[in-house]
């Protein structure tokens, strides 16, 4: 219900609700745009454009996940247009496009996974947050311990507790599927 109300608010032109959505999705969209254009400034420019289009078309989508998909696809399309504009070599452009179309679903899976984990970890206490970030980047307990200047046992305990918390957080249907954490008034 809460997610629906946030969604309906955006649909009816609530700037505050839209800002909430922006805060949650902006980084992910930048990551995707950058994967195409490989330039941070251009990527952020593309995402701006996508969000403006999303706002102007806000009445046309049916639910929050179609809205998110709209945004992902928009970011992809604008990115490809930019590349097309710059690279005049027809062959090169085609091959880029084909390659990207094939893996677009994978791009979404990868970024969504990172976004979900990032968001869940962000709600942890500071030290646990650092530990979990390092751990999910593939660092071993010993490495994390010396990196943060704490004992390996502390790492183990905090990690165990953090994982427990994360498991519960991720079980929450709303948190994970729909991304908007809280109701927006």
């Amino acid at each position: 219900m809460s997610v629906n109300s946030a969604f309906h608010k955006i649909k009816s032109g609530d700037v505050k609700a839209f800002e909430e959505l922006f805060e949650q999705l902006y980084p992910s969209m930048c990551v995707v745009a950058k994967s195409y254009v490989n330039d941070e400034e251009v990527a952020e420019d593309i995402v701006q454009e996508a969000f403006i289009k999303l706002w102007n078309n806000r009445e046309n989508y049916e639910n929050i996940s179609s809205l998110k998909s709209f945004l992902y696809v928009m970011v992809k399309n604008i990115s490809l247009n930019r590349i097309r504009r710059e690279k005049l070599d027809k062959k090169y452009e085609d091959s880029v496009e084909e390659r990207q179309v094939e893996s677009f679903g994978h791009k979404i899976i990868e970024e969504e996974t990172y976004r979900i984990l990032h968001q869940a970890i962000d709600a942890l206490p500071a030290q646990s947050k650092k530990i979990m970030k390092l751990s999910l980047q593939g660092a071993q307990n010993q490495e994390i311990a010396s990196n943060l200047g704490i004992s390996i046992n502390t790492v183990k305990t905090l990690k165990y507790r953090a994982l427990k918390t994360l498991r519960v957080t991720l079980k929450d249907y709303y948190f994970i599927l729909i991304l908007l954490l809280k109701e927006i008034k």
Partner: protein
């Protein structure tokens, strides 16, 4: 347009799997997806290795979302609501906002845990700021889910909600409409009324008040426990109606405790002076006096106390001085939202003193009590059994 629902689902499953929280059914779905294509396996391995995640996070930490929003805002057509809000803000004399908690999000996350973990492994959490606001039109607003936000009442009053506190702006209107705040067990909330009077509400408590006070007086209705810091206004007495007692004040600080399950109203005066009225009887009390008014008996019982100690809860301290164990446990049950059982009911009348931080784990209090060797506790999920 493709909806990418499958992709969102797989992302969820992988993130769950990485924290070890996948159910057997989900495991099967993920396995099915993995065995479908070699590329899927590669993607899965890549995500789990954490290599891209590191690069991605480094980039994300450089992204300035706030700045980007400022830039975007300009391109979004201004909505009527925003304009109205700004005009109102300009009209308001002063709105006081005091931060109560940092890390509201953390608390929300914690609360989610309580509701969804199996009862057997749930830890008992202390209370936090949460409350339900009932607007005049019957609409209910869950306050702890709202961060730094504003609500308009029908008469145009701006209600600002920020981190555990609700603030009403003052406004000249003629009609009187009422709001109600209900704080559940395990909650607390702070409120600034339109006359700048501050109210702290303890767990399992309720207050009803007009959004704007009328010309003659300032009347509110309370149940449970509340601390009042009343703004001085000689022309308009502040009147608290609690059960069958009326507490009349001009400008003062006092604590009222009147839970429905207890047959009493306990008023403790910290500063100033208040007049209590029950039926035809009246009594004026001084600072550091506490009046117990029984709802079944007659008259007032006055005793001398250190009044500050009776309002320490609002400063985050759990304080009891030579109180019956039953009273102490009752307070704990409200704040930690637990049930109390006595193996031997005679324990209820034993007296204890205790002073701890309210936001600590419940073990802190129980350990202090059991250190006296007069009482022991057994915790089983949300139930606490008191034993000799």
């Amino acid at each position: 347009m493709k909806n990418y629902k499958k992709e969102y689902q797989i992302a969820q499953l992988i993130s769950k799997e990485m924290t070890g929280g996948l159910t057997p059914e989900e495991q099967i779905i993920l396995q099915g997806w993995l065995s479908k294509a070699e590329e899927n396996k590669e993607l899965y391995k890549r995500i789990k290795s954490g290599k891209n995640w590191k690069v991605r996070n480094e980039y994300v930490s450089r992204i300035k979302t706030g700045k980007a929003w400022d830039k975007l805002k300009v391109h979004i057509a201004p909505q009527r609501k925003t304009i109205a809000l700004k005009t109102w803000i300009a009209r308001i004399a002063a709105v006081l906002i005091i931060g109560f908690f940092s890390g509201v999000l953390y608390y929300i996350a914690k609360n989610t845990i309580l509701t969804s973990t199996q009862v057997t492994e749930a830890e008992i959490q202390p209370g936090s700021s949460k409350a339900l606001l009932l607007l005049d039109n019957g609409e209910a607003v869950q306050l702890e889910l709202e961060e730094n936000d504003s609500i308009f009442e029908a008469d145009g009053t701006l209600i600002s909600n920020s981190k555990g506190q609700l603030v009403y702006s003052s406004l000249n209107t003629t009609e009187t409409i009422y709001n109600v705040i209900k704080v559940p067990r395990g909650g607390e909330y702070q409120l600034v009324l339109s006359d700048s009077t501050k109210v702290w509400l303890n767990s399992d408590s309720e207050i009803k008040y007009p959004v704007q006070f009328n010309q003659n007086n300032r009347k509110v209705w309370v149940s449970g426990e509340a601390y009042f810091d009343v703004e001085n206004d000689k022309k308009k007495p502040f009147i608290v109606n609690v059960k069958d007692v009326e507490v009349r004040v001009l400008g003062t600080e006092f604590n009222i405790e009147a839970y429905p399950e207890n047959e009493s109203v306990i008023t403790t005066l910290v500063e100033g002076s208040v007049k209590l009225k029950k039926e035809k009887e009246e009594l004026i009390i001084e600072p550091d006096q506490q009046v117990i008014t029984s709802t079944i008996g007659e008259g007032f019982t006055v005793r001398q106390v250190n009044a500050k100690n009776h309002s320490l809860w609002k400063d985050g301290i759990f304080y009891c001085e030579a109180e019956h164990l039953s009273t102490i446990m009752e307070k704990l049950s409200r704040w930690y939202d637990v049930n109390i059982f006595y193996l031997n009911p005679s324990l209820k009348d034993k007296r204890f003193s205790v002073e701890v931080q309210r936001y600590e784990n419940i073990d802190e209090v129980l350990d202090i009590l059991s250190a006296t060797n007069k009482v022991r506790f057994e915790i089983n999920s949300n139930n606490i059994t008191v034993m000799e």
